[in-house]
């Protein structure tokens, strides 16, 4: 038997990486503070460097590929979408014409304002994305359970993620079984739509039936017993320095707010 693996349960789970091994709640707190700071700043000179930092952290945790495939796609969509949207309605005032595409005039200002928007959307979603790619769901649930979230809630959250995987597998089989009954599933959109309906019933019913069985199976594992649970797999509680780190992130957020409000307050006073 794999004794190294078994022994790993005898101590706190460690991945050997500074960021990943932070308590999930510390990570969550830091990420939220950073995410909100981009919202406050709404400035590409703040948001873009932050995105680069996020990529760097992802790289240092060995999750770069996972992070960048999602984040890259997000970047592409947001950049294109916002750039186009920002060109609309920017026609008057002190503007610098840039280029004209088929009679559509593009302005420098709209690009800058576009990038401000882009940077805060990407900064905000990127930080949260970094959190979820570097924090396994069960670690997060473990931390929540430690803070008093119920065992049931945690189970439902985790089990529904597995359910999605299972349903995907089931839908393939169901589609095959309908094909075998002579229901045409390949062809134009109408044919496909017609084939789609017969797959829904079994999918939903299978989900319901398996939920009942799962409830019974979990009950057999003493799920509903009213006793204090043991956690085989434990995470280290947040250390003092982690708490300071998390606090620092919130001070940083407060700093950005002050920075933004300062000129406004001055104006008000004057």
């Amino acid at each position: 038997m794999d004794t190294g693996f078994i022994n790993s349960f005898r101590e706190y789970q460690k991945a050997g990486n500074l960021w990943i091994d932070l308590n999930p709640l510390t990570k969550l707190s830091v990420c939220f503070a950073l995410a909100f700071s981009t919202l406050v700043m709404r400035d590409y000179r703040y948001g873009i460097p932050l995105c680069l930092v996020l990529c760097l952290v992802a790289a240092l945790t060995g999750k770069f590929k996972e992070f960048i495939t999602l984040f890259g796609r997000l970047c592409l969509i947001i950049i294109i979408f916002v750039t186009f949207i920002r060109q609309i309605g920017m026609r008057t005032g002190n503007v610098t014409p840039l280029i004209s595409i088929f009679g559509w005039q593009w302005y420098l200002e709209s690009f800058i304002r576009g990038w401000d928007t882009i940077s805060f959307i990407l900064g905000f979603s990127g930080t949260l994305l970094l959190f979820f790619t570097t924090t396994p769901m069960r670690d997060l649930m473990y931390a929540f359970e430690q803070k008093g979230v119920s065992h049931e809630t945690s189970f439902i959250m985790l089990a529904s993620m597995q359910n999605i995987v299972d349903l995907k597998k089931a839908s393939v089989t169901i589609l095959e079984s309908q094909k075998s009954r002579g229901i045409e599933t390949d062809g134009n959109i109408l044919v496909r739509a017609k084939a789609f309906f017969p797959t829904l019933g079994p999918l939903i019913l299978a989900a319901i039936a398996s939920t009942e069985q799962k409830a019974i199976a979990m009950d057999a594992r003493a799920f509903s017993v009213q006793r204090k649970h043991t956690f085989l797999r434990e995470l280290a509680p947040a250390t003092q320095s982690e708490k300071i780190f998390s606090m620092a992130a919130w001070v940083w957020l407060a700093g950005t707010i002050v920075y933004k409000l300062y000129p406004f307050v001055l104006k008000l006073l004057a």
């Binding site: 089931a170 089989t173 169901i174 095959e176 079984s177 309908q178 094909k179 075998s180 009954r181 002579g182 229901i183 045409e184 599933t185 390949d186 017969p198 797959t199 829904l200 019933g201 079994p202 019913l205 299978a206 039936a209």
Partner: protein, 263 residues
């Protein structure tokens, strides 16, 4: 007329090779049981026969037509396949609606529908459940509902995937009668089964599969009295055969009456 598999291999999209170069011919009117361990390739092989799996190399020819040239739905009209799990298939509110679905989909006349449904329901022994919601029926009965829903389209070939799972004595009797009747009506019946008693009692030809290939193909006597095949396919001799072997009787005995006569 026949199902012919010629040097066919099958690789799943994820790269898993499930069958390597298999060749087999199923002739009209035969009764064939396919046996072997899970993962041997049984289900992959039968899914090639009804076009759900198109061979990665080699050919599958059904009544002279290559499955590569047809959609699964078209092939399914002549080769019916009843899935292992009935819950993958059932989606109507009553047993009758479930069984009528196919003939209605193909817009048969009311009279024709009535006739087909009656035939299928009789064979599957589910006359008394027609008005019931299939999901209120126990698993083994649901299985018969899905069998009827395939019989109703009157395919020339019917493939039953593990029909005996969870069946009681009564269920097994219905299955035996159904197979007899189907053969009488000119249908070729194939089954995948883990139940060796069921295989010897109802099928004349046994195909043993192991490691992605067919390792033996013959009469029940040829398969179940070949220890090398049994070991390789990881299947067991039916218990009467086992008894005959322990008593050192010759004659490749598999059935109770043979054994009684011999003693």
């Amino acid at each position: 007329m026949s199902i012919e598999i010629n040097n066919a291999s099958f690789t799943y999209p994820n790269g898993y090779v499930a069958l390597e170069n298999i060749s087999v011919t199923i002739k009209d009117g035969e009764r064939v049981a396919i046996v072997g361990q899970n993962g041997a390739g049984k289900t992959t092989a039968v899914k090639m026969m009804n076009g759900l799996n198109k061979p990665s190399s080699g050919d599958v020819i059904i009544d002279g037509v290559n499955t590569k040239d047809k959609t699964t739905a078209t092939i399914a009209k002549s080769v019916g396949y009843v899935f292992q799990n009935p819950d993958d298939q059932i989606f109507n509110q009553t047993v009758r609606a479930e069984i009528e679905y196919m003939p209605r989909y193909f817009k048969f006349s009311e009279k024709e529908i009535e006739q087909r449904v009656n035939y299928a329901v009789e064979l599957a022994g589910i006359e008394k459940f027609l008005k019931i919601n299939p999901y209120d029926l126990p698993f083994p009965v649901r299985k018969f509902v899905t069998i009827a829903a395939v019989i109703v389209s009157k395919p020339k070939y019917i493939i039953l995937d593990e029909p005996t799972a969870g069946q009681d004595k009564h269920g097994l009797e219905i299955l035996s009668k159904m197979i007899d009747r189907l053969q009488k009506d000119g249908v070729t019946v194939l089954t995948i089964t883990h139940d060796m008693e069921f295989a010897v009692n109802n099928f004349h030809r046994i195909i043993a599969m192991a490691h992605k290939n067919i390792i033996a193909d013959g009469t029940p006597q040829e398969i179940f009295w070949n220890d090398k095949v049994l070991a390789e396919a990881r299947i067991k001799k039916p218990i009467i055969g086992e008894l005959a072997m322990q008593l050192a009787l010759d004659g490749n005995i598999l059935f109770c009456d043979e054994l009684v006569a011999k003693l």
